[in-house]
């Protein structure tokens, strides 16, 4: 399990290549399911120029660890990875990367999706958007999907 909350931009594909090199490409993990959430340049009908992502230092990391532990208990998985940006983010930059390695595809797909849904609904992060005209607003609610 690897959880990282980071301020610097990252390339999800390079991150995955390195993570897999780290644990060795396991010849047991037949299935890898990955989700990457990227900052869009629009939200609720407005053009978004950039974003600031606040978190709760300490609780955020602990909470992500709990979510990862939950899926590791619920499915038979080989590895779980969560990477989440904080701080100043611009459109097209990755915000979140979730990856799950398993022997079987159903477990990988389902654990990956559950991780993303529970992260969206419960991990302490808050988005503050800056719109095209310079107006700043806190995002009230995540989109349902």
């Amino acid at each position: 399990m690897l959880i990282e909350v980071r301020e610097n931009p990252f390339d999800p594909w390079q991150y995955l290549a390195e993570r897999q090199a780290h644990h060795g490409v396991s010849a047991c993990s037949g299935a890898t399911a990955v989700f990457v959430g990227t900052m869009r340049d629009f939200n609720e009908g407005d053009t978004v120029r950039d974003m600031y992502l606040e978190h709760y230092p300490g609780m955020t990391e602990r909470h992500l660890e709990r979510l990862a532990t939950n899926v590791l208990q619920q499915w038979s998985l080989d590895d779980v990875l969560i990477v989440h940006r904080i701080g100043h983010i611009t459109p097209a930059q990755p915000i979140v990367l979730v990856a799950v390695w398993s022997a079987h595809r159903a477990a990988a797909f389902e654990a990956c999706r559950q991780l993303m849904e529970t992260l969206k609904h419960s991990a302490p992060f808050w988005k503050r958007e800056t719109l095209a005209d310079g107006a700043v607003r806190w995002v009230d609610n995540n989109t349902p999907g």
């Binding site: 609780m59 979140v96 992260l119 992060f125 806190w138 009230d140 995540n142």
Partner: protein, 77 residues
């Protein structure tokens, strides 16, 4: 004999402060901590609460030395 109280995101901006320290002579509910630290009587339904970095309810009892946090709905991912 005190608790650390944290406000995040829009709540921090509303109160103009991210952290206050509350003197404590006896255990208090999270709701009472909200009233004393924010100066607001009622706890809004959409405010989330954590005690020692774990989600908690309004009735959870807070002891001296605890860390209490209030924050709006989360929007990560």
């Amino acid at each position: 004999m005190s608790v650390k109280v944290l406000f995040f995101a829009s709540l921090r901006e509303r109160f103009g402060v991210g952290q206050v320290t509350l003197a404590l002579t006896e255990p208090l509910s999270v709701q009472a901590v909200w009233q004393r630290s924010s100066g607001e009587d009622s706890l809004p339904a959409n405010v989330l609460m954590a005690v020692n970095q774990t989600y908690a309810g309004a009735d959870t009892l807070v002891q001296s030395g605890d860390e209490v946090a209030f924050f709006p709905p989360v929007t990560g991912g």
